[in-house]
Symmetry: C2
Subunit: 340 residues, 2 copies
């Protein structure tokens, strides 16, 4: 399988490192990474780039056009389209949730040329999943997006492969590690929301501008992707009633604790008659709710179905290596012939 | 996809009913069941058996050789081998854990003829999974066994598809609904083991001879299958240290409750240095253990891995319909091209 990696940031570097570390195990697949493309140009080696040396090189140097072997400012995405010499494009450029670019163009053109695509890029998937999937089907290739909605937690696999043949009737998820960490801090440390947020920021878990997380939009984005993919819907963010955790008080937490309950920021899609209700909001979960134990940076999702009962999945380590591992999972499942 | 169903007991009948109920959704797959074979003979219709009429017929009559259209004592497994006119054999005959027969022969011969196999039959898988898998690979067909180790709970999918590309380092599972129900009864009703067992028997959850469940052997069987498949091992039941729940007292339960813990019958496979330790025993789980909330008839499994973190899966309705739905899941995943 000949591969192009577009976008050489944290996940891209972690993926290259993972491919080096798993070299022996991956031998049977016959992987060759022949392009690695960054923002200023990239590396092209039709015989397969020496990834171990690239990892070594990347320790001190971020500009891959300085890589000694096969690097050039001319090696851009267009080179791949011209050469048509890959089986799979891994799209890892930075997300733009307004236009989806440049990922959107990369994904569309790749699918049209008959390349499989695996991506961690939320923007194009949020904006245009249905269209992208149609292009993939027309061109008889796979579009894998598991990394965009939970990373290592296999939300998409769970809904497509594990629930195959059943109708998913509802989706519930604790999908944002940052807010879940903040809530846990408030529970354990008996501190206010502001204090817990500060600690999360100091630890690098929350961003300086935490609004996407704490106001519920990250959860909403993931819920939207999962819902559109698994329930075959065409919803947009506007269809979701979104509230975050910023109003949560120490007193709320203490009261919930006394009742034996826990607050979670829950994203929920549920079929009611002929409509689909979608929300992101704080919910007090009872001890016997399967997502009750999803604490700290953990994530979890629960599907209910007509014939396979409930399935709750909890876990999914956070960080660039698990994200890269979720791309590798897609790659292997494509190799194993799965039609998503 | 042309299908033979061998074994027309509870799961077989539930599967036929499911295929009737899901007829519209399954249209794109183009399913045709051309054999349904019971213990005294079967039904053969190369144009596809009218499943709706079979469901109707089966309401009052268990002997399918009396079915008015295409039934005969001559329609046995050998007919399928002679005619070679199916793509998939669904093996649902009663389990024999000593010899694996007749399922073992059905599975081997089917794979050798180039038919995919999906089975709910634990016996052959417990005794001979590795050999069977080799035969499947040699003949370029799929052998799907998800139903043998958790039914609707996708333990095998989880380990193979959802953890693809990672190494599973440990497996922990609450895999037996009967014992889990008994423990929950003891917790909720403050009753003794004997009383809880009696109630489970009255409700049809525990069998008259409950030893397979309560002495841990059902859990051990499932753990063995999951471990051999996912960790690529060749263990046997003798490699597992097995203890059940029969010694559990009301006092143990009360004490655990005071500590905020719960007893679960846990099957566990864990790599330590170069050995694999396998056990089935009662464990007191802390509140934050992901399997803590697996109550009553529910089941759960947790995998830890090198690169994808932990994955806990909880759920999986019990009964013949969810078991049939797990066979349908396998069928669809085979249809989607997955190489297991």
């Amino acid at each position: 399988m000949r591969i192009a990696i577009i976008g050489y940031g944290g996940v891209g570097r972690a993926l290259v490192e993972l491919l080096v570390n798993k070299k022996e195990e991956l031998k049977e697949i016959g992987l060759q990474v022949i392009y690695v493309i960054g923002s200023k140009g990239g590396i092209y080696n039709p015989e397969g780039i020496d990834l171990a040396s690239l990892v070594e090189f990347s320790r001190d140097e971020r500009d891959i056009t300085k890589y000694p072997n096969g690097a050039s400012a001319e090696v851009t995405f267009h080179k791949i389209l011209e050469n048509k010499d890959v089986d799979l494009v891994i799209e890892l450029t930075p997300t733009n949730k307004e236009t989806g670019e440049p990922g959107m163009t990369h994904i569309i053109k790749s699918l049209e040329k008959g390349f499989h695509v695996a991506t961690a890029n939320k923007g194009p998937i949020l904006l245009n999943y249905k269209k992208l999937r149609e292009i993939a089907i027309e061109n008889n290739v796979q579009l894998c997006i598991g990394c965009t909605s939970g990373g290592a937690l296999p939300t998409i696999n769970g809904g497509i492969m594990d629930m195959a043949g059943s109708n998913v009737l509802s989706i519930e998820g604790v999908l944002n590690g940052t807010t879940n960490y903040i809530i846990k801090e408030m529970e354990d440390g008996h501190v206010s929301y502001d204090e817990a947020l500060k600690k999360a920021q100091q630890m690098g878990i929350a961003e300086t501008d935490p609004s996407l997380d704490v106001e519920g939009w990250d959860t909403a984005s993931k819920l939207l992707i999962i819902t559109n993919v698994i329930m075959k819907e065409e919803k947009t963010l506007k269809d979701i009633s979104v509230a975050g955790i910023t109003q949560l008080t120490k007193e709320d937490i203490i009261k919930a604790k006394e009742e034996g309950k826990k607050f979670k920021l829950v994203g929920r899609s549920i079929r009611k008659d002929h409509t689909l209700e979608m929300s992101v909001k704080l919910e007090k979960l009872e001890k016997d709710h399967p997502l009750y134990g999803v604490d700290g940076k953990n994530k979890g999702v629960r599907y209910t179905s007509d014939t396979l009962g409930d399935l709750t999945m909890i876990g999914g380590a956070s960080g660039v290596t698990p994200a890269a591992a979720s791309i590798l999972r897609d790659l292997i499942n494509i190799h194993r012939g799965y039609k998503f």
